[in-house]
């Protein structure tokens, strides 16, 4: 065991305390609850053996980079600049904790203040926290925040309208976070072309909030959302969930009236990592600042008048306010947000725009290619897409995915897993790394399945 500096010196330490054995240290645990037998677990391993087992087990996984992959569904198969993990895992960052002592934590505090600024610029809202767990918890806590702020004036008490096309795994998180605190979720309908039904949206006037996603679960960009704030009015919060990369070319929601913007930060900073650790973006208008969740860094002065950073508005938080806190969040995703900040800084404004254009371009090219397959139809042929689009297949999409899988292509996500009525729909996700040959492989694999299916 190479992790214990005092191994073999236990007795001398016990002696100096006047204790006889390690057992004396546990004498306060009543016998009826003591465990006397050893844990029935495997034996210890050396670092070398652990590495070998990790390579073996994780090597049994098929990673996204090893084959043409069109599975996105809210996560990005991105390329993270090499600098990012190398610097973020510097021990001073990696092994620190929440900067409760700002005098020795200026580095992380400043990095998070810079992160807040970059996120604020990205989404067009003045306030950002230092991260939520992911897009789903960010959306859920945006809703509870909006209800706290808008609840009093709302004529539809506790009511929040949620887009019909929020995917069920995200909606489920929202339901868990809202079910016990007097919030009623109602569905905001979409038209048959996938766009939000703006007439139905007027029903949300007087509600606490509306939550929509831009692009929606089908990757569709919706111009109507830019009119939403005008429809629902000042007393109802507009919460917009975004694809963060899209904001290189798509208007920042803060500029069309969004009150709170949330989203997956993951495309900036870290690979899909089997779904975590990733980080959720959370930004809002000043009106929400004192009732929002999460840690916030402010710039201030030290007692010599020197610029300094510190955590601020902690009185919202659980360690001070306890059951009246705005959220229970304590550990968040700071290190991943740091990686995100590094990635954003490397990209710069024009780099962000280019990244977004690259994704838009592969989406467009793939969409064109797929819509040329006979028997395959775009679900919404006239709507603009970013990163993802849905197609209707002449059969079960899960079967198509399995068939393409056998041909070495990860062909997308069968939407029947989200909505029963969409079992024939396939969600195809593209990214900046999609190549022409990937697209050809997808077209060929999907064509082969269609032909077999119709034979």
């Amino acid at each position: 065991m190479d992790q214990l500096p005092n191994l073999g010196r236990e007795q001398e330490m016990l002696d100096s305390m006047g204790l006889k054995s390690i057992d004396d240290l546990f004498s306060d645990i009543p016998e009826e609850v003591r465990r006397m037998d050893p844990l029935p677990l495997r034996g210890p391993q050396s670092e070398e053996e652990i590495w070998a087992d990790a390579q073996h087990l994780l090597g049994a996984n098929i990673d996204l980079d090893s084959r043409p992959s069109f599975l996105s569904a809210g996560l990005a198969r991105n390329f993270v600049p090499t600098m990012v993990p190398m610097l973020a895992t510097r021990g001073e960052f990696l092994t620190s904790y929440t900067p409760y002592q700002p005098e020795v934590s200026q580095g992380m505090l400043q990095a998070m203040w810079e992160f807040q600024t970059m996120v604020s610029e990205l989404v067009g809202l003045p306030v950002s926290n230092v991260s939520m767990y992911d897009a789903s918890t960010a959306a859920a806590e945006a809703i509870t925040t909006a209800v706290r702020v808008k609840g009093r004036k709302a004529t539809q008490k506790g009511v929040v309208y949620v887009s019909q096309f929020v995917p069920p795994h995200r909606l489920s998180v929202i339901e868990n976070y809202t079910q016990g605190v007097g919030i009623e979720l109602r569905t905001l309908e979409h038209n048959s072309d996938g766009m939000v039904n703006l007439e139905a949206a007027s029903a949300a006037v007087g509600a606490c909030a509306v939550y929509v996603e831009q692009p929606n679960a089908f990757g569709e960009l919706d111009e109507g959302i830019t009119q939403m704030k005008e429809i629902i009015g000042e007393n109802t919060a507009l919460i917009v969930g975004v694809d963060a990369v899209s904001l290189g070319i798509v208007e920042a929601p803060g500029n069309y009236g969004a009150d709170i913007v949330v989203g997956e930060g993951q495309p900036f900073g870290i690979g899909p990592t089997a779904g975590g650790p990733i980080y959720g973006l959370f930004a809002c208008k000043k009106e929400y600042l004192r009732l929002m969740p999460g840690r916030i860094v402010g710039k201030t002065l030290d007692e010599d008048g020197k610029d300094a950073f510190t955590l601020t508005l902690s009185t919202r938080e659980q360690h001070i306010r306890r059951h009246r806190a705005t959220s229970n969040i304590c550990s968040n995703e700071t290190l991943i947000a740091l990686m995100g900040a590094m990635h954003m800084a490397l990209l710069g404004p024009e780099g962000l725009e280019k990244l977004a254009l690259r994704v838009a371009a592969t989406t467009e090219v793939t969409k064109q290619a797929i819509s040329g397959i006979s028997g395959v139809e775009l679900v919404d042929p006239n709507t603009p897409n970013f990163r993802e689009f849905a197609v209707k297949l002449p059969g079960n999409a899960a079967d198509a995915v399995a068939h393409m899988d056998a041909a070495g292509v990860l062909g997308g996500f069968p939407m029947g897993e989200w909505w029963d009525s969409m079992s024939s729909c396939l969600l195809i996700g593209c990214d900046e790394r999609t190549t022409q040959s990937d697209i050809e492989a997808l077209v060929s694999a999907l064509t082969a399945w269609v032909e077999e299916e119709s034979a």
């Binding site: 992790q3 305390m17 390690i22 306060d28 495997r42 390579q55 198969r77 900067p99 992911d134 090219v365």
Partner: protein
């Protein structure tokens, strides 16, 4: 001071990328939706940014820099093999929705971790989905809530927490809609059974408690407390923040708990990363297993040997009455893999980790509380124990009240002065029931020499000119930071001149 926005090179400078696959992709965005102005992000080259972030890192204190006795947070050494492993494409480049047969290795690690955590805590089923301790609490209370609803026990609308509980406990229960009943600790800082008896009733949904308590002492009456709550029809929830003190010595199952969360970033060394990520799996007894979030890793024997060669095929399973999801994927898989690598290093000897954590805490407490003659002569006032106890577990609390009374030096002053000596400060002013509290957790990965030196320096500070201590820190990047000004002016981002 310079910030990152002072790097403002030529337009389009910075990290190079391939060209878009086709020109005119912007036309995919309807003109009314196009972004009007780009975000004012820095324009920097790689060498500039490497230097910027290196400079920032040098102004940040981690475990790698020195002793980090932040009580309750378990700031132990983070083995670096764990970081190397999560860079493997078999975890970094994995999508959680890939077909099961493509992620058999990941599923097998999940399964192994679920099983290990079940054994360690005496629970029947674990889920790895919650991504932080607080989220684990929330998830478990949600499961308990559904359990009561299913039994028609809808009148159970209260959750009991001791006044020494972590703030996340009441906050998590409140997020589920529960009313919080806080019970006062006894005079010795321990759970007061008569207060508990008075608090339970037909409206009790659960009690949330950590053991050892936040004072670092084991609650001797825990089994009886469980009995009291259970006979009132409530459920017992174990806050696993302090699980690293008792692993292999006892477990929440034996103590009578129904549900527990684990902090993989505490007990199992996932790095804290300046505030996260964490990972907060929960374990439950069989009667609650049906309500756990979906999905859970499971396996069945297979004749072809399985993808990992262990004879099993792994798959995701959804509990029948699942509460659904608390994070939209499968949790912080990367944290789970790091914790797996950590577990593999100890295996069945995990008990050693707890033994040394407790040994170090008791040793440090002994060194501080038994000063030599020289210190005795010069110290203004000794601290007193937060809770009287023969032995402590993995951490201990000290009240600096006597020092404050004699010299005006507060716990906060001591905390700031420790920074001058090259230490991170202990947890300050928690638990709130101990006046002028410092909560000290050395962890098992500190040597006796480090503990001796810390005790020596701590006692020296108690002898120092109060003026010097009250104006500390003196040697850090910045002096004492004006937090009141920060909250008043709220400068939460860079403002640009243009």
């Amino acid at each position: 001071m310079s910030d990152i926005f002072e790097f403002n090179g030529a337009k389009g400078s910075g990290w190079s990328q391939p060209e878009p696959m086709k020109e005119g992709a912007i036309n995919a965005v309807p003109s009314s939706l196009r972004r009007s102005t780009l975000p004012r992000w820095p324009r920097a080259s790689e060498p500039e940014l490497v230097r910027h972030y290196t400079w920032l890192s040098q102004r940040n204190f981690g475990i790698d820099n020195g002793f980090y006795p932040l009580g309750s947070c378990t700031m132990k050494h983070n083995p670096r093999i764990n970081e190397r492993i999560v860079q493997l494409p078999g975890i970094d480049r994995i999508h959680p929705l890939q077909p099961e047969h493509q992620i058999q290795g990941l599923l097998s690690i999940f399964y192994e971790m679920q099983e290990m955590l079940e054994i360690c805590a005496g629970m029947d089923q674990v889920t790895l989905q919650p991504v932080a301790g607080a989220q684990g609490e929330f998830t478990a209370i949600r499961c308990i809530q559904e359990y009561h609803r299913q039994n028609g026990d809808i009148q159970r609308d209260k959750v009991i927490v001791p006044d020494s509980a972590h703030g996340t406990n009441p906050a998590s229960a409140a997020m589920c809609g529960y009313e919080i009943v806080e019970i006062p600790s006894g005079e010795d800082g321990r759970l007061d059974l008569s207060a508990l008896r008075a608090a339970v009733g037909e409206d009790t949904a659960a009690m949330m408690i950590t053991n050892p308590s936040t004072l670092g002492v084991f609650e001797p009456d825990i089994a009886e407390a469980a009995e009291i709550v259970h006979s009132a029809g409530g459920q017992m929830y174990y806050d696993g923040a302090n699980f690293n003190a008792i692993l292999g010595k006892t477990d929440p199952g034996r103590m009578g708990f129904d549900a527990v969360h684990y902090n993989l970033h505490k007990t199992f060394s996932q790095p804290h990363g300046g505030g996260g990520p964490g990972s907060g799996p929960i374990g439950v007894k069989a009667h609650l297993a049906d309500f756990l979030p979906s999905p859970i890793a499971d396996r069945e024997e297979t004749e072809d040997g399985g993808a990992t060669g262990d004879g099993y095929r792994y798959f995701w399973r959804s509990p029948t009455n699942s509460i659904g999801k608390v994070q939209q994927w499968h949790g912080n898989s990367g944290a789970v893999v790091r914790a797996w690598a950590y577990y593999r290093r100890y295996g069945r000897e995990l008990e050693l980790m707890s033994e040394h954590a407790v040994l170090n805490a008791n040793y440090l407490r002994h060194q501080i509380m038994n000063p030599n003659q020289e210190h005795q002569n010069s110290i203004h006032s000794m601290p007193v124990d937060g809770a009287p106890s023969e032995v402590v577990k993995h951490e201990f609390t000290l009240s600096m009240m006597p020092l404050k009374e004699t010299t005006g030096v507060t716990g906060k002053d001591i905390a700031k002065r420790l920074l001058d000596y090259g230490y991170m400060s202990p947890t300050l002013y928690f638990p709130m029931i101990v006046p002028e509290c410092l909560m000290i957790e050395p962890t098992e990965t500190e040597s006796r020499e480090v503990l001796d030196k810390f005790a020596e320096d701590f006692l020296t500070i108690l002898s120092e000119d109060p003026e010097v201590v009250q104006t500390a820190p003196h040697t850090t990047d910045v002096r004492r930071v004006d937090e009141v000004l920060a909250a008043r002016t709220l400068v939460l981002r860079k403002e640009f001149d243009d």
